[in-house]
Each structure stands twice: as C-alpha cells, then as structure tokens.
Amino acid sequence: MPVVELRDVSKRFAAAPAVDGVSLAIDDGEFFSLLGPSGCGKTTTLRLIAGFESPDRGEVLIDGRRVNEQRPYDRGVGMVFQNYALFPHLDVGRNVAFGLERRRVPEVERATRVAKALEIVRLDPATFLRRMPGQLSGGQRQRVALARALVLEPKILLLDEPLGALDLKLRKEMQLELKALNRSLGITFVYVTHDQEEALTMSDRIAVMDHARIAQLGTPAAIYEDPRTAFVASFIGESNLFEGPVTEAGADLVSVGGPTPFRVPPRSDLLPGRTVMVAVRPEWMDLFPPGRVPAGENAASGTVDEVIYLGETLHVLVRLEHGQRVKVALRNEGQIANPIRWNRGDQVAVAWRPEDAQVLE
C-alpha cells in the first residue's frame, strides 16, 4: 500500500489552476521528487500533502486513509521549509524541542531525543544546543531544521527546496547526506526542487510537473532516457528535437520527412501522414566529415558554430542547413594530447542511430 496517494487532486487559486488532476502514489521509504519550473504546481502539491491547502477536488490519502480534512499536525508528517523557518527567538535546543513540548514529552526524554536528533544531522549537541539561529551558517540552519522535523519521528518527511539557499559544494554534500538519511531512517521523503540534476541525484522516482499537471512520472533513468514529451526532454538534461510527417512505414524502419529527414524504429502507431517529434540527447550524437557517416545512421549536414570546452565533455554547436541549431556532446579525450578536429566554420554531418532517438507524444 502506498504511504502517500493523491487521487485526481485539483486546487485553484483565484484565476489559475495550481494543481490540475494530479494522481500519484508514493511507496514506503521511497525518495520521491516533485520536479518542475517555478509555478508548475510542485509546491502546492507538497502543501496539499502537508495539509496547508485542501483540495478543491480529489482525495489525499496517507497510509490509505483520506486526510483531506485533517490538520497538518494530525497527519504524522514532518516538513523542512524553504528558508528553514527556524524560530529566531529560540536557541537550537528549544527549536528542536518545540514539537516535543507541544506533545508534552517529559523533560528528561525530551533532552535525550533532542541530542539524538542533532547527532543524526551531525551537529554536536555540546557545541550547538545553546546557539541562536542567527549565529548559525546556512548549512547548520538546514541541519537544525532537519533535526526539528526528525525528532518527532515522522513517517513522511516533506522537503520544500531545502538546499536552494546553499552554495554548490555544500548542496552536493547535503544531497548525498539526505539520500543516506532516507535510507538509514526508512522515512519516506517527498522532495520539491526545480533543479533537475538534484532530482536525478537523489530520487528513486521523479514526478516532472508542468502547468499544474504531471508531465511524466518514473525513475531518473526512465525520465532521462525515455522522455515522453518535448517539455520533459528539454527540462531534464538537453535534447535536440526533430519533427516531420511519416513518409513510409517500413517493417525495419519508419522514415520521417520534414526539414531534417530521419528514420526511427517501427511502432504500430507510426502510420504515414502522422507528424512525429523525436528527441535526441547531445551525447548520443556524433560528428563526421560530410559524406563519411556510417551506413544506417541518421544524418544532417551543417556548419560548426561554436566549440565549447566544459572539461569532462565538449559541446559542439552545429547550425543545420535549414537553420536549426543542434548540440553535440563529445567526450573529452584530452585537448592537448588528442584534440578533436572540429573548428568553427567546418562543414560537418551530425549523425545518430535510429534507436537512440525518443519518439515524443
């Protein structure tokens, strides 16, 4: 049975729908991310689970029970807020103990649980217990906010872009730590982020949201390697999109026309006349001198616009004959020892194998 379930949930604010017919089921212990650009409805979805908003339509279930009318606190859910929301007038110890005090936990037990929670988030109680939030760094505040939620041993932890305010290095560290906490504590994490790399790094599954709806839900690999829509293909990682009408549906390959003709593997619904759009990841493309493309690969000729050095990879931007710009990622095998032979202005052919393109809906 899923721990959290949304059944066809909708929520409108004033004019626009914030969440529109969203259904999802989150498993026990899962690290589940809601990913999307700002205003896509991911935070509202999280707040519907938390109980800060109630749905106009549909059902929110926790542990199989309908909680639409239940107050946040009664849902057994913990939350880490975007800017930590630490109580500025209370020291670290009192911040973490706040929930225990509300539950009338005896003082002795309170102290041990607070100390334990601080240790879980790797803050030394002896050093930090009496510090005020104003005296902490961003990363330390983040840890206190985590401890404050974890001390109540929630079944589900909701996190609303918790790492947004941290610098890149600290953010990467915290990503791994959160993932480790999710594993070791067995708590279900529901994580809101607009950072696709962050979602790919940490999640068991990701729901990509766009315009108040779920655009695609699946494992990081499924979402990256088999995007279903043009939005998902370009929001998660980068994609080159090609479009055209099916000209011939053969048994081995389907041919597609348009400004850049290409072929895709056959599928029963790809009938002549239907318009097809495919996404090709830059790293699944290759460059060849004109006329030297291996047999069986799709090819489009153009001119090299720019070569960008990124360390691990090189991006070559190619302008195709009809004007479309394509990005090809090449593995860097050492530009000093083994430089690539492409320069600005070179005539090239961009090539990819038919099976390396994803047909979009």
Binding site: R71, P72, F87
Partner: protein
Amino acid sequence: MTRRFSRWLVASAALVYLFLHAPVLALMVFSFNDSKFSASWMGFTLEWYRRLVERDDILLGLGRSLAIGLGATVVATGLGTLLALAFHRHRFPGKRAAESLLYLAIVTPEIIMGISLLAAFVAVGFSLGTLTVAIAHVTFSISFVAVVVGARLRGMDRNLEEAAMMLGADEWEAFWKVTVPSLMPGIVAGALLAFTMSFDDYVITSFVAGPGSSTLPLVVYGMVRRNIEPSINAISTLIVVITSLLIYLADRSMRRSAR
C-alpha cells in the same frame, strides 16, 4: 575622493553636530550653574534639581505625562501591532492606499493634527481632559508602531507559523509562542517610540488638554512664559536624558531584530 575633500567633509560634519547639540549641551551645563541670573559659570550646584522636587506643578505634570505615556503606549502598541499583522497577512483592494495613509498620519503637521482632534472631540461632545490627551497620543503613535512592526514582519520568515503548526501547535500557540516572540524586538522598538512621542509632545497636547490635564511639556512652557529660572534647565535636562535613553533602547532593539 581626495584627502583634502575628505578632511573638509569631516569638518562640516563636526559643525553640523556642534550646531545641533551645542544649545542643548549649554542648557544642560547651566542646569548645574550656581547662579540664578548669570550667563557665566559661577560654580557647581544641584540646587535647581532640588527645587524641582518642591514644585507641585512640575511633579504633577511629570506624573500625568508618565501615566498618559504608559497608557497611550500600551493601547497604541497593541493596535499598531494588530494593524501591521493585518497588512502583512491579508490582501485586499486598496491595500496600498491604506498603507500610504499610515505614512500620511506620520507626515501630517502636528498643528493640523491638533486642530482636527480638537474639532473631533468637540463634535462628539468629549470634555477635554486627561482622557482626550491620551486618545490623541494613541492616535499619532499607532502609525509609528505599525511601521516599525511592519518592517520587522517583512524581515521575518513567512513560514514560521506553518512550521509551528507542523510541529503540533494550534493557531493560538503558533501566534503566542512563535509570532509574537519573534516580533518582540519590533514591538519593543515601536512601544519605546510611542512613549517618546507621547512624553515629548507639546503642540497636539496643547489643543486637546483641558484644565488640570497639563502634561510636563505644557507645564514647562507655562513656566517659561512667566519667568526664566534655572529649574527649567534642570527639568529640560531630565527630559532630554530620558528621551535619549528611550530612543537608544528602541534603536538597539531594532538592530537586534535586524540580525
């Protein structure tokens, strides 16, 4: 910036401070001068302070100022804080205009405020006295409290109450255990400002005070009109010291809240 120019800036700043504070400083020095008439230094004395204690009108005025100040401060702080919270939490048509009116109350010339309050009291048939003075002081203090508390609210994390509720607090607990304590530096600063404004006010009070409700500034003005004596210097020194202290405390409270 050239060194010469910077020296010139320091000199002009020093001049400004001299111009601002020399008169008050002179008044404070002469409150300890052992001479009733002389404008030159005749030796140190506390005589004029001792005489203050003997003057019933001053003591009564002081008592009234403190009582009115405290009462007006409590009411204005409460109302001003609620006003700031209402502005912070709710959106409604005309909100910006309503907020601008708050500033209008601050920049309205005191004499106009005094005349309009007097007219209002006469219109509703209030007889002028301590109560009308207190009401007037509440009126002009509310805006200051609302502005100061509003500034604190804007700097506060907007999820604080939600965080408290997530941890098991109800609305009431979230408000009293989280919102009010985190607002406290702003509330204290607002209250100190309100008290200072009330304690210092002459113009508005002079319109709405009735017989037997003269506050300290009114008493002092009355003394000056009759005859100048060094006790005036002494009471003025006390007023300056007290208000400076309050302003210092209000400023410190706001600084702490900014951290």
